[in-house]
């Protein structure tokens, strides 16, 4: 068991290191010159002072060879130093730390709504015997995946903030300001959850062990609760990492639409100002969140699925 844990932890660390490397390679080593991008943004007017270029190069270590740059950045990152923002000069780690809590609240609520809503929809769609109801319910997830998040946000704002002022349109104040962004974010997530679960539950309903259970005299409700749900939820757990990653990515659009502060807004402003150190830091943090969630799922999985425990002995 310790071997398994160790194996998974090392694997997760390797993926994270590779993700950092890939992001670094894209942002610093592509043919475009980071300094001219930075200067484009920071200085006004077209004139670029060569001395200023050199100073900047030295400051960001860009006068060194690519390997030294990479190793330096990696070393600093491992110590928790993600560099400084070009636009504001503030430390990147501090910017991200300040932005994360707001987004974490939003993400948690959105994920909760998505799992509850998506799970309920999938359960109802596979449990019902009415083909019409099933058809209607199963038509919803593709719709949820297809509608653009920014558009849903704007329509919700229009109806529930402007026409009927039930929720505040902008800002980070209070639970009420969290509702519309969370619902907006939950729609594509919930649709994904519903699609995966409905697929898994549909397969479970067609499995012969369900026929066995029905032949025991179990009702459909009992079969759904005792056999179908557990068999369908287990494989769907591996989706959690992707969902959390999508929440972070989705926050870029949603926080922009609802003018909230947070992780996504930081991404949006960093990309707009082409603030490369900040973008690198954000990408690495997002990858880290994904990797950690996946690691937790991997570690929990053998405890939940009896087929993965050792000792398949048929004497």
């Amino acid at each position: 068991m310790t071997r398994y844990v160790l194996h998974r932890v090392v694997g997760a660390a390797a993926v994270l290191l590779a993700a950092f490397t890939a992001a670094f390679a894209v942002l610093y080593l592509l043919p475009s010159d980071p300094v001219s991008i930075m200067l484009d943004q920071s200085s006004t007017g077209g004139y670029v002072d060569p001395a200023q270029v050199d100073a900047l190069r030295a400051r960001y270590g860009l006068d060194q060879g690519p390997l030294q740059q990479y190793l330096g950045a990696l070393g600093r990152t491992l110590r928790g130093d993600l560099g400084t923002s070009v636009a504001s000069g503030a430390p990147v780690a501090g910017l991200i730390a300040a932005a994360l809590p707001e987004t974490a609240r939003l993400a948690a609520l959105a994920l909760g709504l998505a799992v509850v809503g998506g799970g309920a929809l999938a359960t109802a769609a596979t449990w019902t015997r009415s083909a019409r109801l099933r058809g209607f319910l199963l038509a919803l997830p593709p719709l949820g995946v297809a509608v653009p998040t920014f558009w849903v946000g704007l329509v919700l704002l229009q109806v529930l903030s402007f026409r009927y002022p039930l929720f505040p349109a902008v800002g980070n104040r209070g639970v009420a300001s969290l509702v519309l962004p969370a619902v907006t974010l939950a729609i594509p997530l919930g649709a994904t959850v519903a699609q995966v679960l409905a697929h898994g539950m549909g397969a479970a309903w067609r499995a012969p062990y369900v026929e066995t259970a029905l032949a025991k005299g179990a009702t459909r409700t009992r079969v759904q609760l005792h056999h179908v749900t557990r068999n369908a939820v287990l494989p769907a757990l591996t989706l959690l990492g992707v969902l959390v990653g999508n929440v972070l990515a989705g926050s870029v659009v949603v926080e922009t639409v609802f003018s909230r502060q947070g992780f996504g807004r930081l991404v949006q402003s960093a990309v707009t100002t082409q603030d490369i150190p900040v973008v690198l830091g954000l990408v690495v943090v997002a990858a880290a969140v994904f990797v950690v969630v996946n690691l937790l799922v991997d570690l929990a999985y053998p405890l939940l699925d009896p087929r993965l425990t050792r000792g398949r002995a048929a004497a």
Partner: protein, 311 residues
């Protein structure tokens, strides 16, 4: 050879001579229409009403992209200030914007840019991803390990963030956005293609071909690639919808076309400031995006689930 839709694969229900492949209850009218079709077509999922509607949507949108002038006589760039923020009506189907420009015309004229970006993105992703996946599947061993670990890493970064990082470096513009979105989807295609190649390579008929004396290259060309292509094609269609969404999201965030050039995402963004006064401004162009993505997804599922003659 799967039994789609049957609650339980019942051998009695499926006679070899007259296979009942799809047990999903069809509406009577639809089944009557399909019964009039030749047998080979009748069972193809593309002939379902939903898929036909989706196909129609995609055809119309492609026509908008190719000949926008045929669908609207309004100028998408210069407006009539007197008509500013007019609600939808006979004169302006989608209403007008704050400069009095016809929103339907802007949507139709913006199609070319958005569709082109989506096609570039999906082409980049499908071509690069399939190539990587095919190499990984065929060569196997260490090459496979390295390529697939690389794909894992790309999948560890959420797609939107990955394309944002690429856009940061490439700069802003429709082509840059398209490339960024395409690069972010490479890993998905690589995974699928590799899985398909491995699946087909292990198939009994491939072994039979080897035993028949067919050479390696001939087996790859005649058996493996054609039989792997179906699912990849289906994913391409499904991804087309996802890519339209991603491209419009990036353009909504302001990294796409520069004003006043119309583009789907930026049209929705322009309407943000008029939410309280002009509901149609953001809503109708956004609805067009939703319908197109929905249609692409529906079409993709139809392509990915061939009838009994196709597989």
């Amino acid at each position: 050879m799967t039994l789609i839709g049957t609650a339980r694969p019942d051998r009695t229900a499926v006679r070899p001579a007259a296979p009942v492949r799809d047990a999903a209850p069809a509406t009577t009218r639809a089944s009557r229409v399909r019964r009039a079709l030749p047998a080979r077509l009748r069972h193809h999922p593309l002939t379902r009403p939903g898929a036909l509607l989706a196909l129609a949507v995609v055809v119309v949108v492609l026509a908008w992209a190719l000949v926008p002038g045929a669908f609207t006589s309004h100028d998408p760039i210069t407006g009539v200030p007197a008509d500013a923020l007019a609600p939808p009506g006979a004169a302006h189907w989608f209403g007008t914007d704050h400069l009095g420009r016809d929103l339907f015309a802007r949507t139709v004229h913006g199609t070319a840019l958005s569709v082109r970006a989506a096609l570039v993105a999906v082409a980049v992703a499908a071509a690069a991803g399939s190539a990587v996946g095919a190499v990984a599947g065929f060569v196997g061993g260490r090459v496979d390990d390295v390529l697939m670990r690389g794909a894992d890493v790309l999948l560890a970064i959420p797609n939107l963030l990955l394309s944002l990082a690429v856009v940061t470096v490439l700069g802003f513009g429709t082509l840059e956005v398209a490339l960024a979105v395409g690069i972010a989807s490479v890993a998905t295609f690589a995974r699928l293609m590799r899985g398909e190649v491995l699946r087909v390579r292990r198939a009994t008929y491939v072994e039979a071909a080897h035993l028949a004396g067919a050479g390696r290259a001939s087996v790859v060309v005649r058996h493996v690639l054609p039989n792997s292509a179906g699912p990849v094609l289906a994913l391409t269609t499904v991804e087309l919808g996802g890519v339209v969404l991603a491209v419009s999201a990036l353009s909504f965030l302001g990294y796409g076309a520069t004003p006043p050039t119309p583009e789907w995402g930026s049209l929705v963004a322009e309407g943000r400031n008029y939410l309280a006064t002009a509901w149609w401004y953001s809503t109708l162009p956004g609805a067009v995006i939703a319908v197109v993505v929905l249609a692409a997804g529906r079409l993709g599922r139809a392509v990915g689930r061939p009838g009994r003659t196709a597989r």
